[in-house]
């Protein structure tokens, strides 16, 4: 039976560095294995679409420009991503993986969260489809 059994704690705390931080002004390092932004490598992708199919939050869209030449473009909705890494598990060619940078997701518009991956000319093609010769889009990846 005691009164004020946390006296030691408060005296200690008083002289210790605060446990809280001034977050936006002072940032802490993220751990090595943090799950951050998804990165996709167009060179190794086989276009199987398993990552798109398994994504629980439909954050990935894959545009197939030319299946034979393996020309694909990936649209990654960063704001929808839940960083579960299922795409990384599902991918057989190891062309999609999570990095440990970019984990502060705050913006006043959605545009910065629409990340396109792929060869530059392919991305251009997806963004501005030519009137004729529209790229052949695979069924699970319609444009918005």
């Amino acid at each position: 039976m005691t009164i004020g059994s946390m006296l030691g704690d408060i005296v200690n705390s008083f002289f210790k560095r605060p446990a809280t931080g001034r977050y936006p002004f002072v940032r802490t390092e993220a751990p090595e294995d943090l799950r951050g932004k998804v990165v996709w490598n167009p060179e190794t992708c086989t276009g199987c679409g398993l990552c798109v199919k398994d994504c629980p939050s439909q954050a990935l869209e894959l545009f197939t420009l030319d299946k034979a030449a393996k020309r694909y473009v990936m649209l990654y909705h960063m704001d929808c991503c839940t960083y579960c890494a299922q795409c990384e598990v599902s991918c057989r060619s190891k062309s999609i993986y999570l990095t440990n940078d970019e984990w502060e997701l705050a913006s006043t518009s959605r545009t910065p969260f629409e990340v396109y991956y792929g060869r530059e000319e392919d991305v251009q093609k997806v963004l501005e489809p030519e009137p004729q010769g529209e790229p052949d889009l695979s069924p699970e990846s319609k444009t918005e």
């Binding site: 039976m1 005691t2 009164i3 004020g4 059994s5 946390m6 704690d9 408060i10 705390s13 446990a19 751990p31 090595e32 294995d33 943090l34 799950r35 199919k53 398994d54 994504c55 629980p56 939050s57 439909q58 929808c80 839940t82 960083y83 579960c84 890494a85 299922q86 990384e88 598990v89 599902s90 999570l98 440990n100 319609k142 918005e144």
Partner: protein, 393 residues
């Protein structure tokens, strides 16, 4: 109280925007002076229709949906679901994956119990204990972040195993964290069992006898504090609990103090079993292959969540989407105990009694699908505003 017109019943309604619990739930306490004479509850404010939602998602996608039933005990939901699917598909998970699953589940239990300790202290107006226990909880949060990559919704499980591995560096970090937490927890045990002012708020408050607890179907630490000897980890070992067993912790007092004591003693058990797991982690594969289409069948999957027995019923119709997934969360079992023990106590004790079962509203309530993707109906700010105006007309 002249403003109250009806003299017979003075009802204090708390919620849905609850001052104490940061989740929506509605309670009505009829009071005479400060003494509560009856209590009712209304839930469902965060019903998200998850059970319906599972029927239109694949088995793989559902893993992450189920993980989001609850933000605090996410790993056990994913684990219960994954184990159920693996049973349906008749797939054996490698021992190392099972051990890692148990490790994550136990780390999560530590985080959940420490969180509860802080919340309960806050309800009792003991903000220093709240702040300091949450400060120490950061240790386990950081560990989980370092191991899995996420601070909440760890997504460590995958159908057929786990995604993450434990290496030397992480093992050392876990052991160091456990030593620190054990020392702190022993101190908190002293605080909650010896501090006179805090005991005044917990001892002999919200007492539930063994008979009551059995009749009301209490599970988890709430039930065990009244002497109900249920613990799925012991009764029906899953993951690696067969090889790394835990001891069941019970108390007989059944009051709030006993709930503190049981949870803190469970923390000791968790520290012990985590050390064993890290020291004797079996070697081997992390995953095993699992088909995308799950054969027809029905299974029951039970795990011990930090709050008590978590019950999953899964039914497959042979396709890549489930026929029915039923989730019965532990908080649902424990509501009865609040409403029954509230009567006769003071209004001031209600937050403590409510918090005593460690309620989790999102666990209870599982609707409302926010559609997104190809057929998305994204609500703009203007839509939301118009909806708000319409609604309150």
């Amino acid at each position: 109280m002249g403003a109250e017109k009806k003299p017979e019943k003075f009802v204090v309604s708390i919620g849905p925007q609850h001052p104490a619990l940061k989740e929506p739930g509605h309670f009505e306490f009829a009071v005479e002076g400060e003494i509560v004479t009856s209590a009712t509850a209304r839930l469902g404010f965060v019903h998200r229709g998850m059970e319906k939602g599972t029927e239109s998602r694949t088995w793989v996608q559902n893993l992450y949906l189920m993980e989001r039933v609850c933000g605090i005990c996410s790993a056990v939901h994913a684990m219960a679901y994954a184990q159920g699917v693996e049973k349906l598909a008749k797939v054996e998970v490698p021992p190392r994956a099972r051990a890692i699953r148990q490790l994550i589940a136990e780390l999560e239990r530590i985080h959940s119990h420490l969180l509860w300790l802080g919340v309960a202290a806050h309800e009792g107006g003991f903000d220093t204990l709240f702040m300091l226990s949450w400060r120490d909880r950061e240790t386990v949060m950081d560990l989980l972040e370092a191991i899995t990559g996420n601070r909440v919704n760890y997504s460590a499980n995958v159908l057929g195993g786990v995604k993450i591995d434990i290496d030397e560096v992480k093992s050392a970090a876990i052991l160091k964290g456990m030593d620190f937490l054990e020392e702190r927890t022993r101190h908190y045990m002293k605080v909650v069992t010896e501090d006179e002012t805090f005991l005044g708020r917990t001892r002999k408050i919200g007492t539930m006898t063994l008979e009551q607890a059995l009749r009301l179907g209490s599970v988890g630490p709430t039930g065990r504090a009244s002497g109900v000897p249920y613990d799925v980890r012991v009764d029906a070992p899953y993951a690696a609990y067969q090889d790394f067993p835990v001891n069941i912790v019970t108390d007989t007092a059944g009051d709030l103090e006993a709930r503190f004591v049981v949870r803190i003693k469970e923390l000791y058990e968790s520290y012990r079993v985590i050390r064993e797991l890290v020291d004797h982690m079996p070697a081997g594969e992390l995953t095993t292959r699992i088909p995308r289409r799950i054969q027809e069948g029905e299974v029951v999957s039970r795990v011990e969540a930090p709050r008590g027995e978590l019950f999953y019923f899964l039914k497959s119709n042979g396709t890549d989407m489930p026929e029915r997934i039923k989730v019965r969360t532990p908080s649902l079992c424990n509501w009865g105990s609040i409403l029954a023990t509230a009567v006769g106590h003071r209004l001031a004790d209600m937050p403590m009694i409510l918090a005593g079962i460690d309620p989790c509203f999102s666990c209870n309530d599982r609707m409302i699908l926010v559609k997104r993707g190809n057929d998305q109906t994204v609500w703009t700010w203007e839509d939301l505003r118009r909806y708000g105006i319409e609604y309150y007309k």
